[in-house]
């Protein structure tokens, strides 16, 4: 499979959760486990561009597919690690508005936000709230997360300032 652009091969039982493969086998611990039951969205990743809960996907269904996790949002530095000076627009917007507090929901929220922006949908309050309805946050009260997604939508549609 391709994970954040890298071809990856793992030799694990087919029913192992994508979540466990990412965290345990590939060391990509950005993706979090909250509930393990599809309720909280902390484990959200993109599978072939679609938002999924990695705790509900057995790895046998990912064979040959494309996965993107929070580690794959920012550009990369020469050492292959995410480069903090090349954050994705949603990451910058979350920093700007204070869309993250404790941070446990943040990787999943970022992936949900990213999927929403990629869908090209109109960034109305209603549409944004539906897009993140599968992601629970116990800290922010959601307002600043919604603000961040609005900001990201606007900065994504604006040409970068020189």
């Amino acid at each position: 499979m391709l994970v954040n652009g890298d071809a990856v091969e793992v030799d694990v039982p087919g029913m192992r959760r994508l979540l466990d493969v990412l965290r345990e086998d590939l060391g990509l611990s950005g993706t979090k486990e909250g509930c393990g039951e599809g309720e909280c969205g902390a484990c959200s990743v993109l599978l072939d561009g679609e938002l999924v809960d990695a705790c509900l996907v057995p790895i046998c269904q990912v064979d040959g597919h494309v996965v993107r996790t929070v580690e794959g949002l920012a550009g990369r530095a020469v050492d292959g690690q995410p480069d903090l000076s090349q954050l994705d627009v949603v990451q910058s917007a979350f920093l700007e508005t204070g869309g993250a507090q404790c941070g446990i929901c943040t990787p999943g929220m970022l992936m949900a936000a990213h999927a929403f922006l990629a869908s090209g949908a109109d960034p109305t309050d209603e549409a944004i709230r539906e897009a993140i309805a599968g992601n629970l946050c116990r800290c922010t009260g959601y307002t600043k997360i919604v603000d961040a997604i609005v900001l990201a939508a606007h900065s994504a549609s604006q040409p970068p300032v020189e």
């Binding site: 029913m15 192992r16 679609e50 996907v57 269904q61 539906e130 599968g134």
Partner: protein, 285 residues
């Protein structure tokens, strides 16, 4: 870490049928029910699984021979985006939009909802109200089971252990109206306290309803049609009096239970009120 039973991922239907015929396998489609059952150790855990996700023959939405046919592996997201589904089964699309949230809709399938046979499965009342036919297949061939005969008891279906749900066929009836309503704790990620689909036919522009179906979830051990209430509505026009009688009838006909999500009393009152409102909206008074 949850248990990881052995799993086979056949690439064609013949191979899947042969595996099912040889030993019992629990199918896994989108996994949004099965993975929760495994991780949460709910019910009998599967000894081995059959991953049907790559069986392309179970995908696709087609319109032919007077019916909308939806492959078992069709996700809620695919239904929401499908022009034929929006045109011929808007109530099903409405139901799909209430299921879980984006992550669940991107993975959860209609075949999984049908086979999982939860009394709260949100598409199931719509399938009942639309006289859907469920096409099942095994090494012995294909057969059709009417939705009305499919859910036989608490989480029980008419499927044999070696059968797969292949697709669901919804007859297209231009003079039919279908309405859907789900009552849950919040708009997303909520299992229904009550879910209802109502359908009727309008013949020659007359106000009287024909072939009325009232189908419900979360008010019995399986998705049901309330036939006594349907009989009362058959040939009636959607007046205030009809609505009041139907509401009283449905409250008496269902047998809901108290559980963590709601009480029997609440479910009975809400079911009656939802039906009354649907009839009122249809009658335009």
């Amino acid at each position: 870490m949850p248990i990881q039973p052995p799993v086979e991922s056949p690439r064609d239907l013949g191979e899947a049928y042969a595996l099912l015929a040889a030993t019992h396998h629990r199918p896994i489609a989108g996994g949004t029910d099965v993975m929760v059952q495994i991780t949460g150790e709910i019910g009998q855990l599967p000894d081995r699984l059959l991953d049907v996700w790559h069986l392309e023959g179970l995908r696709g939405i087609t319109v032919s021979e007077g019916a909308l046919t939806i492959g078992a592996l069709t996700t809620y997201t695919a239904m929401r985006h499908s022009a034929p589904c929006r045109e011929h089964a808007p109530a099903l699309v409405e139901a799909a939009a209430t299921i879980g949230a984006a992550q669940i809709q991107n993975r959860g399938t209609i075949g999984g909802n049908i086979a999982n046979a939860s009394p709260a499965g949100d598409t199931l009342p719509v399938l009942l109200a639309m006289d859907a036919e469920i096409v099942a297949g095994s090494l012995r061939g294909e057969r059709i089971v009417a939705a009305a005969d499919f859910w036989t008891g608490y989480r029980r279906t008419a499927l044999a252990p070696d059968e797969l749900v292949l697709r669901v066929r919804l007859p297209i009836a231009p003079d039919r109206e279908v309405r859907f309503r789900k009552i849950g704790t919040r708009r997303a990620q909520a299992i229904s306290k009550v879910v209802m689909a109502l359908s009727w036919h309008l013949r020659d522009g007359r106000p009287e309803w024909r072939d009325v179906r009232v189908a419900l979830g979360s008010v019995a051990e399986r998705p049901i049609r309330v036939v006594a209430t349907e009989a009362l509505l058959e040939g009636a026009a959607p007046t205030a009096e009809t609505a009041a009688r139907a509401a009283e009838a449905v409250a008496g006909e269902i047998k809901p239970i108290d559980d963590v999500r709601s009480t029997a009393d609440y479910r009975r009152a809400v079911t009656a009120r939802v039906l009354q409102r649907m009839i009122r909206e249809a009658g335009g008074w």
